[in-house]
């Protein structure tokens, strides 16, 4: 009953009035400065906590692996935002207009993400077996000294053209160059669009819509190829023997999952203040919630399909990857991943009331971002000899908490900085008018 009254209140305030006025200032609220300060504080505290693990060799190894996990999570936000930005240009719709500026801010963190990648290049010997034994000779030697298995030696030699230190540097540079190009064009045109002398006319709308569509259509395709290469070289190749053809797509969907969660979180938090207070209607929040729900479903669909196919085949060169992630205590993490990543968000997002509730959406989106971290941990740590099929919560393992949090906090601070650079909504878009209309409390 109380809900009905709430809903009525919503309806009562808007129903009898005409369109609301656009807030006089579309700039990001000043409170973002305080949020950024908090994010930086968290980054510093967790970076200092990480130092405790740096005293042992095992701890240093774990810091590096956790760093890779933190880097990949940040990359998922920046790259995922880029593809989501292009997706909203090709599909259109009011949801896209609201998310556009937060997504643009996320893409503009790509320089930071590229910078974050440098330590991985410097220490790649400690992460990737193929980087430790970069030539056929060293690989065969390592096999003769029983440092690696026959299988690993054979596949490492076979995959050498893609997996060697030089190729990795070149591949990573190409990936970032492609992403930078799209980031630059999308962000520049977005400002040009608002500054168009003909803004507000049908001709201007049509012109910019076509322009963005023509860039974004091919852009999505190119991005998917770049991401697939990146996901294979950076994460999948940690286990040189294993491959899965759905790997890139799985990362793509996981990026959508994380970016939508962060996008909704940003909008809901911003909607405590003007201008988002006026612009974010319950209708659009509900739509975004439904979209996130679709990604929750698609994500488990792909992950389970991959598992089912490999489980059915039960082949010796594929199934060990899963066995390493199920046996020896990993079953708990695997179950936790399933429960956090799918079961809980799925059950909660089924509810219409929850998707329309601002406070609850904050919790659920934070939880979804946490679930992404659990998933990355489950993907990365069992690749390493000591941990494959043997989960041990030693001292170094806690680096998987501190390092990604430090990196994410740093990334968030940069994201907030970027968010403050532009008005929070693009004005030269016909959907803006619709956002100001009274909403149908359907």
């Amino acid at each position: 009953m109380s809900f009905a009254h709430e809903q009525h209140g919503e309806h009562g305030t808007h129903a009898d009035h005409g369109p609301r006025a656009l807030p006089p200032s579309l700039a990001a609220p000043v409170v973002l400065l305080a949020w950024r300060r908090r994010a930086l504080l968290v980054a510093v505290v967790f970076a200092l906590l990480t130092l405790f693990f740096a005293f042992t060799g095992e701890g240093r190894d774990h810091i590096l692996r956790a760093y890779l996990m933190g880097y990949m999570t940040c990359f998922n936000f920046a790259g995922g935002a880029l593809v989501m930005l292009m997706l909203q240009y090709v599909t259109g719709g009011k949801w896209g207009l609201l998310l556009r500026r937060p997504l643009e801010a996320m893409t503009r963190t790509l320089p930071l993400v590229a910078l974050m990648f440098v330590p991985i290049l410097l220490f790649m010997k400690h992460l990737y077996q193929w980087a430790l034994y970069p030539t056929e000779e060293t690989t065969n030697n390592a096999y003769l000294h029983h440092l690696i298995t026959h299988e690993q030696a054979l596949t490492a030699n076979f995959k050498r053209p893609m997996l060697n230190p030089h190729a990795m540097i070149v591949e990573s540079c190409i990936i970032f160059a492609v992403l930078f190009l799209f980031m630059f064009l999308l962000n520049k045109w977005s400002l040009d669009r608002d500054a168009d002398p003909l803004r507000g006319t049908q001709a201007s709308y049509e012109r910019w819509r076509t322009r963005f569509e023509n860039l974004s259509g091919p852009g999505i395709l190119i991005y998917v190829v770049a991401l697939t290469a990146g996901a294979i070289v950076w994460i999948q190749s940690l286990d040189v023997t294993w491959y899965s053809s759905i790997w890139g797509l799985q990362f793509l969907v996981a990026q959508g999952y994380a970016v939508l969660a962060l996008g909704i979180l940003s909008l809901v938090l911003l909607s405590r203040y003007e201008p988002m207070k006026t612009l974010l209607r319950t209708t659009e929040q509900h739509d975004l919630g439904k979209f996130a729900f679709a990604f929750v479903m698609l994500n488990i669909y792909l992950c389970f399909a991959e598992f089912l196919i490999i489980w059915s085949g039960n082949l010796p060169d594929e199934i060990p990857w899963y066995l390493n992630r199920i046996h020896g205590g990993w079953w708990t993490i695997c179950t936790l991943d399933f429960v956090c990543h799918w079961l809980i968000p799925f059950c909660l997002l089924l509810s219409r009331d929850l998707k329309r509730n601002k406070r609850k959406m904050i919790w659920i989106t934070c939880f979804m971002i946490f679930a992404r971290l659990v998933d990355m941990f489950w993907l990365i740590e069992p690749n390493f000899a000591g941990s494959a099929g043997n989960l041990h919560i030693g001292g170094g393992m806690l680096a998987y908490i501190t390092v990604p949090i430090a990196l994410l906090a740093l990334w968030s601070a940069f994201y907030i900085t970027q968010l403050m650079r532009r008005p929070l909504v693009s004005t030269n878009d016909p959907h803006l008018e619709e956002l100001l209309e009274p909403e149908h409390a359907y």
Partner: protein, 180 residues
């Protein structure tokens, strides 16, 4: 069959959806629950004023989905473990990953069917007779340009004189008694 007595309800006719929504809202506040709005096109605010969204269809759909999932999963378990055990690639008889996809499909099938049939069961369709068509102004206006609110006689608060007075305060085009 006992002869039916009395009236179905009082039908107020409005020219605009805003008037209809306002009257519906006030009627809800006044305690009326057995009432219905009739409009030529969907008026979402009217549905809100009626508190229409809190129906049992989602629950029926959820229960149907859970039933479908359990049915498929248990059926597969029964077939492979007890009814027709077969060694497939040396796997355990209870190889649950293989049961997930049929269980998933049955969840969707049962949820969809129970939503559709649950909706029909709960809204009383198919209905071959409805007393409202006895009102001539309803026959002419309900599907063209008029907006109707009907307060039904089965509501405990309904009284033919007071309810008429209640409806007249919203300045409707007319308030007519609908015969059963």
């Amino acid at each position: 069959m006992t002869p039916r007595e009395g009236i179905y309800g009082l039908l107020a006719e409005f020219n605009t959806p805003a008037e209809l929504v306002r009257a519906t809202e006030k009627a809800h506040q006044a305690g009326f629950r057995r009432m219905e709005c009739y409009t030529p096109y969907p008026v979402e605010e009217a549905a809100v004023a009626l508190r229409f969204h809190k129906t049992s269809v989602p629950l029926v759909c959820l229960l149907g989905g859970i039933m479908g999932m359990l049915t498929a999963f248990l059926m597969e378990t029964w077939i492979t473990v007890w009814s027709y055990p077969m060694n497939i690639a040396g796997r355990p008889l209870f190889s649950w990953p293989a049961f997930i996809i049929p269980a998933y499909e049955w969840t969707i099938l049962f949820a969809g069917l129970s939503a559709a049939f649950g909706m029909l069961a709960l809204n009383g369709l198919p209905q071959l007779y409805h007393p409202l068509f006895n009102a001539p102004n309803f026959r002419d206006g309900a599907s063209t340009d008029k907006f109707f609110l009907c307060l039904e006689a089965t509501d405990p608060r309904f009284s033919i004189l007071d309810t008429r007075a209640f409806l007249e305060q919203f300045a409707p085009v007319s308030v007519v008694e609908v015969e059963l």
